[in-house]
Symmetry: C2
Subunit: 218 residues, 2 copies
C-alpha cells in the first residue's frame, strides 16, 4: 500500500509563514517518490503580516491555513482535524511561520510554547514509531517535541537558534546544506536548508535527502 505523508505548513512566505521553496520542494520530492501527501495547517491567525519587499509589518490579519492553501492549490486540511493514525510520516518545512505561527519561538526563545495541535499530531506520529522530518528552523521545535538529548541540526552551531536548542537540551549537530542529521532512535530527520545562506538548487538537494531518509524509515 502506498505511503501517505503529512506536510504541516505555517502560512505562505518566508518572513511570516512557510518558506515557499522549501514547502514546494518537499511536495516535489514526495511526489517524485510516488508517495501521496496531504498538506495541513492550523486554522489560526498569523502572528503578523510582513511586506516581503520592505520587511515592514502590514496592518492586516491573515489566517495561517487560508494562506498556506496558496502553497498547495487549495488542497489543505485543518491540522486540528488530522489524525496521525492516517499518516506514515510527517514533514514540517521551514520559514519564520514555524517560529511565529506554529510556536512562539521567535518571541519567547527557549520559553516557547508550541501549537497544541502540532504537538498532538507530531507526537502521535512519533509514538507510533513513524518518522518525522523537520526542515530549516523547524528543528527548533525538536527538544520540546522529543525531549532532551534529541539530535538535530539548524546548520551551524554558532547560530542563535542552534544555541537555543542546545539550551533546551538538544544535541545540536552541525550540518551542510546538502546533508541531513538523523536521530535514529527517534526517527527524526533534519536538514538546515535556508538556515544557511544558500541557493534554491542547494535546498533541493538537502530536502531531497530528507524526504528520502524519512520515507526509508516510514
Amino acid at each position: 500500500m502506498s505511503k501517505k505523508v503529512a506536510v504541516i505548513l505555517s502560512g505562505c512566505g518566508v518572513f511570516d509563514g512557510a518558506e515557499v521553496y522549501e514547502a514546494t520542494l518537499v511536495q516535489l520530492r514526495l511526489d517524485e517518490a510516488g508517495v501521496e501527501y496531504q498538506c495541513m495547517a492550523p486554522n489560526v491567525n498569523q502572528m503578523h503580516v510582513l511586506n516581503h519587499i520592505t520587511g515592514q509589518e502590514m496592518q492586516e490579519t491573515r489566517n495561517v491555513m487560508v494562506e498556506a492553501a496558496r502553497l498547495c492549490r487549495g488542497n489543505i486540511v485543518d491540522l486540528a482535524e488530522a489524525n496521525p493514525n492516517d499518516y506514515d510520516a510527517v514533514i514540517v518545512p521551514g520559514g519564520f511561520g514555524v517560529a511565529k505561527n506554529l510556536s512562539s519561538f521567535a518571541v519567547d526563545g527557549t520559553d516557547m510554547t508550541i501549537n497544541a495541535d502540532l504537538v498532538r499530531f507530531v507526537q502521535g506520529i512519533h509514538k507510533q514509531s513513524k518518522p518525522v522530518g523537520l526542515v530549516c528552523i523547524a528543528p527548533a521545535l525538536a527538544p520540546k517535541l522529543f525531549g532532551e538529548g534529541v539530535a538535530c541540526t539548524l546548520g551551524s552551531s554558532e547560530d542563535d537558534a542552534a544555541k537555543a536548542v542546545m539550551a533546551m537540551g538538544a544535541n545540536h549537530v552541525p550540518c551542510a546544506v546538502d546533508e541531513v542529521c538523523i536521530d535514529e532512535e527517534r526517527k527524526l530527520v533534519t536538514t538546515p536548508a535556508y538556515m544557511l545562506d544558500i541557493r534554491i538548487s542547494q535546498a533541493a538537494v538537502g530536502i531531497g535527502k530528507l524526504v528520502e531518509a524519512v520515507l526509508a524509515r516510514a
Copy 2:
C-alpha cells in the same frame, strides 16, 4: 559571461496570482542550470483576492509585486523599471494572475488588454532575438505579443483558452505535460503545466524542458 533571465510573476497563489509550483520550479531549474535570474512583477493591485480553500472572494486589496515577493524571498524588482537590455531571456510562469493581473484575459477573453510594462519588456526581449518562455495559461498572451501565426500550446486544443488563442490568430499546438512547443522563428517556448490535470512532478519535467529550451536559444 553568465546568462541572466527575467522571471515575471503575477502575484502569489494559483487562483488570483502566480502558480506557486510553477514559479518555484522555474527558479529551481534556472538555478540548477547555473543561470542567474531576477524576479519582477508589476507594482499594481491584484484584480481580487481569493480564499484558496473556498474559492470565495475576500474583501481585501493586495499588490501584485508585494505578494509576488513571497515567491522569491523578497528579491523582486518593479517590472516598470526593468530593462530588457539587461536580460538574455524572459520566462512567465502561469496561474490565474496572468489572466487577471498581467492581462484582462480572464474577464475580456479575446478582447483582452495586456499590462503595458509587460508588453514593453517581453517585446523588448523579442526584438533583440532573445527567447521567451511562457508556462501554463501565459501562452494566452502570445498572439497579442507576437502577432498572428505564432505557434504555442495551452495543452489540449479543446480547452477554452486554446480556442481563444486560435480565435486571436495563434497556431495552437496540442502538447503533453512533459513536452514543450517551440516556435523557432520567434524563439517562443511554451509548455502546458497546470493547464492539464497533473501532479507537481510532471510539471517539473515540462518546466525543466522549457527552461532548457529557452537557455539553449539565449
